[in-house]
């Protein structure tokens, strides 16, 4: 599935969110964990007729979501998600947040307890720029999109695309779809793990219980 098949216009929404939206079918129940200002949820409700809920840590994000008429609760994702019943959503989204979790392995299991499927996107630390930064400078990489020094970054659990795939295997999680996202925020048409892990700036996966 790609953007063109869905007739969704890129101008409606941030490009990385559009990629996620394209992985969600019509009329499903969706929980966005770390939904920010509710842009993706609002889009899914409008364009995909989805029944949507969100969890967001920042009061400002919740405020903006509520003003869009969205039902969003404020709180720590890892804590709050545990209070949702099993199978209460068709899809649970974790966008660009996996690396900030205390225990990424536990949150993946929780996503798939609460949802039948999960859509997970994360920055790829296997990207060639990151590798070169560490190899040549000998310092922790600081990228434009993740602009924090190592000692104060909220992103405490970086992984590579290969790490993520390995973790899914270890947790007996099925990967239904996966892609590497390039510099421009659009899907990269590469099939090999080596190339994805080297040139993808982000990994984007649909996962399910085995």
């Amino acid at each position: 599935m790609d953007i063109n098949q869905n007739n969704l216009r890129a101008s409606d929404i941030r490009i990385d969110l559009l990629l996620i939206a394209n992985m969600i079918p019509d009329g499903v129940r969706v929980l966005d964990v770390g939904c920010g200002d509710g842009e993706l949820l609002n889009f899914l409700r409008r364009e995909k007729n989805a029944e949507v809920r969100g969890i967001e840590l920042s009061p400002n994000g919740v405020n903006k979501s509520v003003a869009k008429g969205l039902s969003v609760i404020q709180g720590n994702a890892e804590k709050e998600i545990s209070h949702f019943p099993d199978n209460s959503f068709d899809y649970v989204i974790l966008s660009q947040t996996l690396q900030a979790m205390d225990r990424p392995d536990r949150i993946l299991k929780e996503l798939l307890r609460v949802g039948k499927r999960a859509v997970v996107s994360f920055p790829n630390f296997g990207h060639w720029r990151v590798r070169i930064h560490l190899a040549l400078k000998g310092k922790m990489p600081v990228t434009k999109s993740l602009d924090y020094p190592w000692y104060s970054t909220p992103n405490i659990h970086f992984c590579t695309i290969r790490d993520f795939v390995d973790l899914c295997e270890k947790l007996d999680i099925k990967i239904e779809k996966g892609m590497a996202v390039g510099n421009t925020g659009s899907k990269m048409f590469v099939n090999s793990m080596i190339l994805s892990n080297l040139f993808g700036t982000q990994g984007l996966y649909v996962i399910a219980r085995n």
Partner: protein, 380 residues
């Protein structure tokens, strides 16, 4: 703009109705009340399909004068920045009602009012009531106004308890619910503080077993102490320290006596004394009792989620970081119960230092969320 219309939006109208003459109010205790009065205030204009009514519910010692001058105290209403033209509860758009709750003392039937059967004040002959009874009385008023569904029910503290009660008992008649700084049941600590207040009143010899209306004197000292104790629970340690610290009151040094040496003592005494002028001691007993009896899960075997099963109501729940009376934890329990049954709920914990009373103060974040929530729902 016509004078009457402008007045409706701005200062509002003070009204009073007698209800329950034919169909008595059925009370939780098994008793009935017939007839009874409801005093209320309204602002704005009910639209033609009656879909823009908002019920604002007041807290323990509040009244119907949420906006505009309170004729009893001469002071401004208790939510002046929340309700009004262009404000979060916008009286240009909504028809806003605020009722004095059953058992209170600003015109609605309560222990201070005349029992038509005996032609003297009820005193302790007034039946013990619950939050559900207050809401049943409000339902009768809403019926009288011929409003099928309220666009929203909004309230803080005990007002939030009424909001939850509306949502649970009358879910088809509430479109949105906004409980603020509230709880789903009174905790042991909440009950304990109220018991201190009640004992202070009843220990005052002037209370005269609730028949102080026969004398010139009421239990002023007791009611005053009750208010002082309660007032501490409405503030935070930080806000008390910021406001008073250990500052002395109009003196250079300690007097080694029991006069109000400290500013905080003087402040509390003033809070107590001024409260006596505007509140009835028996009402204080009845309303604190109603709050202590409040447990929205009680009819559902203690299962809070069950209370909200299949609810069509859309919730927006707010709490304050420094509120130690009805904590964020208690709001979160409501949020989790609602999520467990797939209800539509938003929640925010607002960072504010001023304790439980934050909901009555100037809090832009609270105003923004309520304005956004209501506007989004109205825009549908």
């Amino acid at each position: 703009m016509k004078e009457k219309e402008k007045n409706a939006k701005d200062d509002g109208f003070v009204e009073e109705v007698t209800l329950g003459e034919i169909h008595p109010l059925q009370l939780s205790s098994g008793g009935t009340l017939s007839p009874f009065k409801i005093a209320y205030k309204s602002w704005g204009k009910l639209n033609s399909d009656k879909s823009n009514a908002i019920l604002v519910c007041h807290a323990l010692t509040g009244d119907q004068y949420a906006r505009g001058k309170n004729p009893l105290t001469g002071k401004d209403g208790w939510w002046p920045k929340m309700i009004g033209p262009g404000l979060p509860i916008d009286t240009n758009k909504y028809f806003v009602i605020c009722t004095n709750v059953l058992g209170s003392c600003s015109g609605t039937s309560g222990p201070k009012e005349i029992n038509t059967k005996t032609n003297e004040p009820y005193g302790l002959d007034f039946p013990v009531i619950t939050i559900a009874d207050m809401v049943s009385a409000q339902v009768m008023l809403v019926n009288y106004l011929k409003i099928d569904q309220l666009f929203s029910v909004i309230g803080g503290s005990m007002g939030g308890m009424q909001v939850l009660q509306w949502a649970v008992n009358h879910s088809a008649r509430v479109r949105t619910a906004i409980p603020i700084a509230s709880t789903w049941r009174h905790s042991a600590q909440n009950i304990a503080f109220h018991e201190v207040g009640r004992q202070a009143i009843m220990a005052d010899p002037n209370w005269s077993k609730g028949r102080y209306f026969e004398n010139d004197n009421g239990p002023h000292a007791g009611l005053s102490v009750a208010r002082m104790a309660a007032h501490i629970t409405y503030m935070s340690e930080r806000s008390l320290t910021a406001k008073f610290g250990r500052n002395l009151q109009d003196r250079e040094k300690l007097t080694f006596g029991f006069d109000a040496d400290f500013q905080v003592e003087s402040y509390l005494r003033y809070q107590g004394i001024s409260f006596v002028d505007r509140f009835d001691a028996n009402s204080y007993l009845y309303i604190t009792r109603a709050m202590d009896y409040f447990d929205i899960s009680a009819d559902y075997g203690g299962n809070l989620s069950k209370a909200f099963e299949n609810t069509p109501v859309k919730f927006c729940i707010m709490s304050f970081t420094s509120d130690w009376l009805y904590t964020t934890q208690e709001s979160r329990e409501i949020v989790r119960a609602l999520n467990a049954v797939g209800a539509q709920v938003s929640s925010v914990e607002i960072d504010m230092e001023k304790g439980h009373d934050s909901f009555l103060l100037d809090c832009p974040e609270m105003f923004n969320i309520i304005a956004g929530f209501l506007a989004a729902e109205a825009g549908k």
